[in-house]
Symmetry: C2
Subunit: 446 residues, 2 copies
């Protein structure tokens, strides 16, 4: 993309009402625009990041055999009356009446609807196990929306639902989701720690929240420092292998790590003192096993091999897709702006032309641009007639992890400059060598 033809409305001033860094930088980098309290437009740069995150979530869910579908944003109240949650949910549920005076709502989550789909179409144990998920806009009418997309009202979420014949199978689905989530966050350059949590209005016994440590987190968390040393890494996972998924789950959850809701001071004190940590965390996902809570209430049963009809065991599993954009920024920025991890960056590399209009510099930039596109990289070329300082400031603010700087002086020596946004380190390279380096950096990430 050429910046002269893009729509990237960066702001020079820091918006007064933005209290946390991700909100400030998303506004300043022209990623979002507030349209009402807690309701945002995703401007082109923000939209690109949102889509990259969504794509990673899709890939990791489908890798585990989970099947995508799409439920609508509006739901009939009748489904929620069946589960008893229509009255229980409180004022955060946005209730709507249509022109025929029918009660509807903007879905805050989809346990009821997915259970309705299941009971309408599945009748036998032979169709299990089954995990369906969607990524859809949801609404929670927060009384005081704040922190930009971190605590908005209209938000984008992946929610998945497993249907299993037995509790054992459903716990495998729980573990399987835990593994997919670990991989999902790691691909985004995030460390999200599974912590034992409270199930809230979803219900159920088993639940873990995934928390990214950050000063601005809304939750207080307590953990054994050793938990931050564990990585999933590139290990090969067979998602049908119950023992393997269980082992990963145990590895990641056996050390103490809890939110304040489930914190147990006595147990915490048994951790060696030098490893005891309390901090703040941002919730970026949660998994639940809630057994037959919804299937019993709504009559979602299957025939067993013996011909008996039993309610299915279920769980639900959510990742906050729009919230992750903010969480990644909270975890990865400096005082000049955002620093995108390679896995989610909106553009792979920025090209800064130090002397726009200089025939040689323009040609070198055009050649780099074409070669990058041919290699499957997405560059953002700052082709405006601005001074170098302004171009650098924009690139630093929007946080592309790599920048190539092209100027007449370097070109005389046959080199351009490749700069890491994270370390600030620069390297002089022939243009072809710079592209080769970028291809290497993004291997497996395109």
């Amino acid at each position: 993309m050429r910046l002269s033809r893009y729509f990237l409305p960066v702001l020079k001033e820091t918006p007064a009402d933005a209290q946390i860094v991700s909100h400030r930088y998303m506004l300043r980098a022209g990623m979002i625009r507030q349209q009402a309290a807690g309701i945002y437009s995703w401007l082109p740069l923000g939209y690109k990041v949102l889509k990259r995150i969504e794509q990673i979530v899709h890939e990791e869910q489908q890798r585990a055999g989970h099947i995508p579908l799409l439920m609508p944003t509006l739901q009939p109240a009748s489904l929620w009356q069946e589960s008893g949650r229509f009255d229980a949910y409180g004022p955060e549920m946005l209730r709507i009446r249509d022109r025929h005076d029918r009660d509807m709502l903007y879905g805050p989550t989809n346990e009821e609807m997915i259970t309705d789909i299941f009971r309408g179409h599945v009748a036998s144990y032979r169709d299990l196990p089954l995990t369906l998920y969607h990524i859809q806009w949801k609404f929670r009418d927060e009384i005081r929306p704040r922190f930009g997309v971190m605590r908005g009202r209209e938000f984008y979420m992946k929610d998945g639902y497993n249907f299993d014949l037995t509790k054992e199978d459903a716990l495998h689905a729980y573990n399987r989701h835990l593994v997919t989530y670990l991989r999902t966050y790691e691909r985004m350059g995030l460390q999200a720690i599974p912590m034992r949590a409270d199930s809230g209005p979803i219900g159920g016994d088993d639940t873990h929240e995934f928390l990214v440590l950050a000063e601005t987190g809304e939750s207080e968390v307590f953990y054994d420092a050793a938990v931050t040393d564990i990585r999933l890494g590139a290990r090969d996972i067979d998602y049908d292998d119950k023992a393997q998924c269980q082992a990963v789950m145990e590895e990641f959850t056996e050390l103490y790590a809890r939110t304040d809701e489930t914190h147990d001071a006595e147990e915490f004190d048994r951790i060696p003192e030098e490893r005891r940590r309390s901090a703040r965390g941002i919730e970026v996902g949660q998994i639940f096993y809630f057994g037959t809570k919804y299937s019993e209430a709504m009559g979602a049963t299957v025939a067993t091999p013996e011909g008996e009809r039993v309610p299915v065991h279920m769980g639900s599993h959510g990742i906050g897709v729009s919230r992750l954009v903010g969480a990644i920024i909270e975890a990865s920025h400096d005082d000049k702006g955002i620093i995108w991890p390679e896995g989610v960056t909106p553009f792979h590399v920025g090209i800064v032309n130090l002397k726009q209009g200089d025939a040689e510099a323009d040609k070198a930039c055009e050649d780099l641009y074409a070669a990058m596109e041919a290699a499957g990289l997405e560059p953002l070329y700052d082709d405006r007639s601005e001074r170098a300082g302004a171009k650098f400031a924009t690139m630093d603010l929007i946080g592309l992890p790599w920048r190539i700087t092209v100027g007449p002086r370097g070109l005389k020596n046959g080199v351009v400059e490749l700069t890491s946004r994270r370390s600030g380190e620069s390297e002089e390279l022939a243009p072809e060598a710079a592209i080769a380096r970028l291809i290497e950096i993004y291997a497996g990430k395109l």
Copy 2:
């Protein structure tokens, strides 16, 4: 995808309340499930088609330099009060009140919001021309929703908005959109004819609707038969070339083609009688030029090169993404089911194993499956223990354009059968040759 692990709830019976063929087949093929009047869940197969269509729309918009962003589904009433449409819109607008008693609405379209984004961030002619678009869920509270996704309440639409300094530039944007739409529909295997139409609540003078001819169409249309012979085809388009876009527009719109709203019997009668046609059509898109209607009302101005502030010239341009799923089926089916065009098919090819459990047949199917995935094709492998007739009926119903049938008899002679869903013709081929044929068929469509 292996059918045994997929969620494809096909129905044997024809649903009684579905009046048109696309609605019937979408229900029977397990593509959608109604959740409330005019509100559907997109089950996995339907979701895949929806996403293929969305992807084509994105590609063709971005090819023309149009920039994607994403506006929220809910909008504050205040924006619509500025344009005067909050009161004018009528009961099809779903009005909502949030917990703080603020008036909101579920967006049926986005002229106001995009104008608000524009005025908030753009101030100079130097940032023009600019075309922004999004693909987002919308709501229109139809009094009597029917025909499945063809006239639903919650629907998925691409809507794009151009901002230009002059009327001439805005008319180029209009022509450019017309060309992108022609290409978009042709890639989906559809002929959609641009017809002069009425602008309705959007406003403006220039507007064309794109109509697919089909008996079940909601509009009566009148046209010169010669208009159905024109194709855009593979011609190379430079979307910055005003004369070229204008020429394409004229080529496609100079012959008589109008909806009943703008029909002129006298002019129609001047067409040679043997070319006069009246028929029914399904609207799948519409483009508008409406000048400064919204920019004046909402103060969206830019500075000209002379320093004067003038309201921008705008147009809006919509494609009914969810509606297209139905329209394609209306245009492409037979009495056994859907016939997907290659450009939008949910899976590229079906594999039918005639003797599941037979070691040789199973292995041949697995090998085909792996080879197809390696070639970038997405196969649907019917690996269920069903009789051949049931497997064929499912494949015919869901409408994959190509089927490979594998059975012990053919394998003895080293062949499988490749069948075209459209023609019904079969060909016996070595497995490798069948894959080579499919790769050829889908060249440029993956």
